[in-house]
Symmetry: C2
Subunit: 226 residues, 2 copies
């Protein structure tokens, strides 16, 4: 029984922080937020749950590291060629698409205030605001507005993905259900919610996102003109 030629459950490469993060991302992508557990992870890595703690501090460290890997490859090096407004739009859209692909990043980012993935995003946005000649003391409020908007959208998308997954129905079905409920609200109490429910199932999240970014950029431009 010793030295059998194939021992498939035995891992070949040694356990590293990077391999753990890579496996976590795969698990999160495949099974959603709830899919990352130390048991599932250690099984996939052919080790015991305790081994992981040698390389990472705890689950929150793991989530932050996993989201940082996505954010780092999404933002990449700063795009120096583009005009600042276009660069901001590109940064924002990059994040939107990344979180569309990996919804769990939305909630992970939000739960890691002041951590590296957040710093990357703030840096990317802040540089472009400097390039836009936004006055020094208006830079942080503007970055904060863009950041908060991006995080808000990300969190909502993560929640939508989570609901869709746990209820086993896709996005369109879920939106249609919500639209139906909203359409049946009391017309006196909820006139606005009723009126927009109609346009709900066939509307474009990504377009709404761009519109939001552009609204903030317009506000910024209006300020500079004064």
């Amino acid at each position: 029984m010793t030295k059998t030629s194939r021992v498939p459950q035995r891992r070949e490469e040694s356990l590293t922080r990077d391999r753990i993060i890579e496996a976590s991302i795969a698990l999160l992508d495949e099974r959603g937020e709830g899919g990352l557990t130390f048991r599932a992870l250690s099984e996939r890595l052919a080790t015991g749950p305790g081994a992981i703690y040698w390389h990472i501090a705890d689950k929150s460290d793991l989530m932050t590291a996993a989201s940082d890997a996505i954010v780092a490859r999404t933002l990449g090096p700063p795009a120096d060629g583009a005009r600042p407004e276009a660069a901001i739009r590109a940064v924002a859209l990059g994040m939107f698409d990344a979180i569309d692909d990996h919804p769990w990043v939305g909630s992970a980012l939000m739960r890691a205030p002041g951590q590296l993935p957040m710093v990357r995003l703030i840096e990317s946005l802040g540089r472009q605001l400097r390039a836009l000649d936004v006055p020094e003391d208006a830079q942080w409020p503007a970055v904060f507005a863009l950041l908060s908007f991006i995080l808000g959208v990300s969190g909502q998308n993560a929640a939508n993905a989570h609901v869709a997954r746990t209820r086993g129905l896709d996005r369109t079905v879920f939106l249609t259900d919500v639209a139906t409920v909203w359409s049946n609200l009391d017309p006196n109490d909820y006139p606005f919610a009723r009126s927009i429910a109609r346009h709900f199932p066939d509307h474009d999240d990504r377009a709404d996102f761009v519109a939001g970014i552009d609204l903030i950029l317009s506000g910024l431009a209006a300020r500079r003109r004064r």
Copy 2:
């Protein structure tokens, strides 16, 4: 041993959905997000964990109902007297302050897409945008921008509160720590993050929040002028 005169653990009033929600809010306020468990809740209500399931569907239902109670009393009836822009600012600031008092509402709201608390917020914002004479097809994008910004800030505040609670340090200490880390980042890679770290510990969250709302409102006003 039977019929002792004082049986303090026996509850007086019958279990209702409202009493469960009220007790949940108290628990969340006192102990933070992690403080609401079915065991702690049933102990406080002098009942068994199973009893709660007769009145509420599951934990997500409970969180949504708890946050809805806060949102409902925060938004209240629409303030008809005020000018629309002032009314929007009032709605947003009301939410900011409510979530400052009950940080868990920030994450609960985000995890309840399409649910009642969200509808209330959307309705409050949407009405004022109609009153602002924003064209029909620009109303939803504007509501979405305001909503996402508010949710983004709420989520960040919830995360800050959670970190502060679990690490047992207050907000200022936490921010000072983050500022120190950021100040030591590589000057070539993170010039912007380094430069704002200085202003971090003594800056006003609420002012940043108002600035963000105003930026979106300015953007909206700029659009209308065209």
